[in-house]
Amino acid sequence: MDDIATRLRDSLHRGADALPYAPDLTRSAMHRARSIQRRRRVSAVTAVIAVLVLSVPAGLALGDTVTSSEPPVADGSSEMTDPTQVTIDLETLPAGELPGIPYRQFDAYLFGGGSYDLGGLDPYEIASWDAGAALLVSDGAGQEGTLFVADGSGRPRPIAERVDSIGASADGAHLAYVSGGQLVVRDAAEEEQAAPTPTSVPVPTGAEIIEVTNEAQVLVSPEQGPALLLDRRGVESRLPADVTAWTVPGASFLLAYITRVDEVLNACSAVDDGANQVLWDSCDWTVREFSPDGTWAYAVASSTDGYGPVEVAVLDAATGDVVRTVRLAAGNGLVGTFRDAAWESDDQLLLRLEAETGAGAEVALIRLDVPAAEVELATGPVEVRPGTGDSPYLLG
């Protein structure tokens, strides 16, 4: 142990030794416990009242009597189509379970079965697949990076350079990345072999991976021109330009893409491509990711100030109706920016929120339960330097 640690230990013990005995805290602790219990009951009753008020049919005027034999009936479907604003108050946000999907927390990559040390790497993007965590680390020049794989067997090992986009399939079987004009697809099952044989096909410049399917098809969106759905033999289907999200719920699939309406306005359209039918358009919201079952769509405001969205929404994927909007509570001097999001389950969305003042910033992962319109803290908040892009958390 070094000198500082020894002095620290001595100092802490010496300080504690100087503390005189305190009066018995049992009674005061019990008293405070009952006070906490009362507050919780009041909060619970208030919440129930709020739900009942929301459930009263609009035709009932104030003063109307609702007897116990005629309880107001909440219409679940209409409730879900009424947009509900959810505000996040970091001071009172209840703590929930840790994230159920892999994520990066400082120097560790955490997943259900344990954690991998990132070996000092500072990735800006992570994709999770069965062979470990794929980490895209900036090479300090341009927008390309080096791709590492961390699998817990030692330091993360580099597998590709000049990589500008990565993605993994939902079942964890395939990892795809774009490097030097080639789309490369690797199979987790082959990674344990001495010489895995990834397949690669040429893609247009600047192609960004939007989605990787369990069948190893990859949806890429080039800088210009229509999006391409590629299989590993290079067979492609052309899709509308600027695809932002895609999902395959069951036999059909949904697609969201941006089209230019006029000089300044873009519209996000959702298409049921299985039925070849445009479902809805929106000039207000741009879809980023559909929920796994295709019920909801996570979306950000189409017009932002360039610093990131301060409000995000969950839409009904089939109709485009806004069912939830989420933002940081006002009035505490904090500006909340949503940096990233990922679906944890069909109904639960994890949001990476950066709450910033001029002096500092905190980052937290917030869980939104869409049907319940409730938020809770999944992990954090932790302090970061504001405006640097550094984040202790990344969603894999």
Partner: protein, 182 residues
Amino acid sequence: MDSIKSGREADADFSDYVAARQHALLRTAFVLTGERASAEDLLQTALAKTYLSWSRIRDPRAVDAYVRKVMVNEHTSWWRRAWRHQEHSTGQPPDGVGTAAAGSGQADGVGERDAMWSLVRTLAPRQRAAVVLRFYEDLSEAETAQVLGCSIGTVKSQTSRALASLRRQLSEAGATSPAGGS
């Protein structure tokens, strides 16, 4: 009657626990907060929350760990609340947690005589919690990670940053504090 009896038994168990462990826990609260009044308040809050969860803590050996965890979380959340209520004009986080007098360290007779003790109070709450758990409570890195709810790597980095900060500050102050070196 059973529920009343079991409730009374639970109260008696809780009282016994507090009587046996209060002083040790208060010492931990004190090194976390650096102020006696805040320490008593912190421990009282932690014990109140423990009392509410008493029936769910099945392993008596786990109670200390539970109280410690509540104290660390509560202390961090006090600090955050105090920070948010500041004007943020200086960019400096508040020292201490809340309304206790700034000079109460002096009243406790330890603050100004020990440079290291004063510097510990300048650490961010998670770093402070990490060093208190590691160097005062003598918890392992894994046990500390459990209390802080983070990975072992984070405990290592928080502890290392805290020690580096203390080393730097002592160096900047000339490391000449008479009591600092003990």
